[in-house]
Amino acid sequence: MATKNESKNNWDFFNRIITDVDENWNIIQCISCGKCVGDCPASKISDFNIRKIVEKVLIGDESILKEEDIWYCFLCNKCSKICPKEGINIPLFILSLRNEAFKKGYNIPQLKKYVKMCKRFLENGTVMKESDLPTERIEEIKKICEFARIKYLHKASKKNIGIEE
């Protein structure tokens, strides 16, 4: 794990994030002004600090993937709106970090609370209990989501393999 004081940065982590979403390249423009943290709802209730998270990605510190912090982001876009730089899209950047965390198998317990919603979406086409969506359209949704993580959760809910409802 790289630290800030090491002379050589590890760019592998950053490269993976920009491979996921091109737009994430823009975080390199971050000037650490901290405006994003000032009015962030997640920062008010947790240790979530977007400035520090950007800094860690830029020095290749992957420890943030294991931590709970990235799961506190409200995806409210306030930070991106207030950011003095043009193209920094924090919500998309956070989604990429969550994606990396999933790939590494971290924070899977987070999914437990989503089992019911996933089940309803794949079986009804809505996250609510009732739906009037025609069967053909529900089949389409199942097909669209064939290789998605949502399918894994749906299967897990049926087999009861340890993921609670």
Partner: protein, 320 residues
Amino acid sequence: MEGYIKSVVLDTDEILQTYNDNPLDFFKDKKICLFKACLEYYYPGIRTCLKSMLEDFDLQVSTSLEQSCCSGTFLQRNLITRAQFAAINERNIVSINEIADILIVSCNGCYLSLLRGRKFLNSKDIREKTTKILKEFKKDILFSPKLKIVHILDFLHLIREQIGERLKYSLNGLKCAVHYGCHYLNLLLDKKDIHSFIAPKNKLEDILTILGGSIIEYQERDSCCGWGASQNVIHRDEALQITFNKLKSAESAGAELLVTNCPTCLYSLNKFRDDMKDLFGESPQIPAVHINELIGVLMEYECDKYCIERILPLIEELKI
């Protein structure tokens, strides 16, 4: 605005240039579809009141039987890919394009999903994957659909004078606080255009003034409702602190009613009052309503009992 988004967003400024006297005339020969938001399940008045109002204006209104959930919540948790998300939203646009010219969206989340899905299509990789998915159902991406999407607030603001003329009740100076919701206030799309980006967002205040309300400014006006991409599900106790602060801030400023334009925010602002009592020893009393429900009650349309329970006690004495 980028191509795929620009081609699907209704340009309300352009309508005003041609139909300044009565913007409703623009919609007279158009087929209007109402997007069904999941959280409307708890607040059916959001759609029924809007439908009643549009029918009252002699407009053609429908909903799509083929429309699915916008799937925004699953994208936020990385449970579906961007291409799958774009395909789900584009599939909805394709279906609705067949039956309507205008799509009114009463939920910030659904509106953002429809636009975000289109934004993703600007990436060649995602566009190719989305095209491949849609081909399986013999559908294709519509670069320039006849369907135009409009956010409920932009639509109501456009026809606010005409709404004012139909009121059976007036808010009669009732002190109203507004909640826009993050995905209306902080749309990144606005950052591309400096004028929209710096312009104050006060359409809800404009509409409420026409309804007879008096606007109360409060500290947490622009803060999140606490839902925050399902934070109320994942980190409930912490997220409720944000909701609680918002409600208390509006109450402390003297507001008697909190009006929003998003069913998800409405759910968050209403649903957890008892939990707040357990957590913070106090449950804010200020009622929260969706702007569609409020207009419905003021126009004396038939509303569901949840809507009546929240609004009617406030306006019993206000008949014009």
